[in-house]
Amino acid sequence: MNEVDKSLLSKISGLEAVPPGAYNLRVNGSSAGRADSENVSIRPKDDGTGLDIHVRPGTRDKLHIPVIVSQAGLVDVVQNDFFIGEGADVSIVAGCGIHNDSHAQMRHDGLHIFHIDRNARVFYEEKHYGEGLGSGENVLNPVTDIFMEAGAYMEMETVQIEGVDSTRRITRAVLGEGATLIVREKLMTHDSQTAETAFEVDLNGDDSSANVISRSVAKDRSSQIFLSRINGNSRCMGHSECDAIIMDNASVKAIPEITANHGEASLIHEAAIGKIAGEQLIKLMTLGLSQEEAESQIVNGFLK
């Protein structure tokens, strides 16, 4: 890895060196390092399209699956399947950083499929970041498919706050009995960037629950679309919340969709879009901050 790649890696995963435990580092379409741990195996698929990651039942572990794209014009497509064994408890740090000094588009389309066995717990963290001096677009299109067995639990935190010109994010989940899914998304777009994010959750098992929370900031001429579709197909609880700050000449569209197909499904959607409240700016200005500093503090806090 060169210095650019190392810097990207640090930004998306906090890693300064090869992490302890299981990991796969993908740089410009191929593996630049991989290790298993005692209970986690990471194997390339036979057809070379990505990885199969197996976590043994009942184990606690942390693994890193970061992706770096810094080769001009590269379109990187990958599918990783995660098989989380019964009762396991794992933390997974993924994410993608793009550095683009070229005039060509650079893109990473990552499909992550989670098969989470009974009573297993997953904490999944995904940061997306773009940079570079070229006029070529940085494009990230992550798709996450989640299949949760009875009693499974997953928390997913996604962050994309800088440098990604276009993103289409799709997250789909199917929950079995007593399964719980919590998604927290933080998103910021600026200049003429576009971001579309869509969630589709099927609450199929009794006592399953999902909470999808999105906070976003749209600046300049950027545009965002947030779609949340929750289907209550059992005795279940579903909640989604889209909270957006709009600035300058940006646009934000929030499309809630909740469908109850069962008499004991309880579903809520909340959506709010608005500019930074004037009283918030005034409060911080009474502490000695300029208006610009106050805006920055409010936005950074909102996306923290």
Binding site: I282, K283, T286, G288, L289, Q297, I298, G301, K304
Partner: protein, 244 residues
């Protein structure tokens, strides 16, 4: 320290015509280390006066001097940087910013947990429960109010303005609030101006200014103004704290 000269403030209707005079020719002086309570009936112009001092509103006419300098044309930020501080009547909520974040912004430096706990303890909050809390709708009115006051203590401005610190808080919080202001009165470093209806707060004052119908109706030492004020308002218990 602070001088208001012939301050007028009028609001205009949509056509730009003057619709109502909120303040009419208000002149007053607040000296160094003076604990001043501004009181008077609702709608009399008290909060507007406080906002004019902080620069949140601009006077239609008149002049505001701070430490001998004309600050009438200065922005909120510039006044804050000169040493004016303002605690809101209705504290502002922030999604994402924590109590520690706001107290650090108020203090002008990154505060560690111990320092944050110190300020929160001063306003009677059990510190550990609050340091990481977001200053959002999950906090009660009384909690927000005390955090607002803790911000002023952390900021330690040359001149502090509190706009109805008692508004919206429960009786238990109010007892703590009085203690906070009594302590502030004992350790006063610069002038403190409190907008209040509360007799208990009026009793702490060095000076009391009564604003009604946009004018200064009475002004003077507490012992000169308060007895008459209580007589005047007596029957409605206006100043007895029953409006909390």
């Amino acid at each position: 320290m602070l001088e208001l000269k012939n301050i007028c403030f009028e609001v205009r209707d949509d056509s730009g015509a003057a619709a109502k005079d909120i303040l009419r020719d208000v002149s007053l002086t607040v000296d160094e280390k003076c604990f001043v309570v501004i009181t008077g009936p609702n709608g009399g112009g008290k909060s507007t006066l406080a906002k004019l001092i902080m620069g949140i509103e601009r006077p239609t006419q008149g002049q505001i001097l701070f430490e001998g300098r004309d600050i009438t044309g200065l922005s909120i930020t510039e006044r804050a940087q000169l040493g004016l501080g303002f605690a809101f009547q209705q504290p502002v909520r922030f999604k994402g910013l924590t109590v520690q974040d706001l107290l650090s912004l108020a203090a002008g430096r990154a505060l560690d947990v111990n320092s944050v706990c110190g300020y929160l303890s001063e306003v009677g909050l059990c510190a550990k429960d609050y340091v990481e809390r977001e200053v959002n709708g999950s906090l009660s009115g009384g909690e927000l109010k005390r955090i607002e006051i803790a911000m002023q203590i952390a900021r330690s401005p040359k001149l502090s303005i509190f706009d109805e610190p008692e508004a919206g808080i429960d009786l238990w919080s109010f007892q703590n609030l009085i203690r906070v202001f009594e302590k502030m009165r004992e350790t006063i470093k610069g002038p403190v101006i409190i907008i209040s209806h509360q007799e208990r707060i009026l009793e702490i004052a060095d000076r009391i200014i009564v604003i009604a119908d946009g004018r200064v109706k009475a002004e003077g030492a507490k012992n000169d103004v308060l007895p008459q004020l209580l007589v005047d308002s007596g029957a409605c218990d206006f100043y007895k704290g029953l409006r909390i």
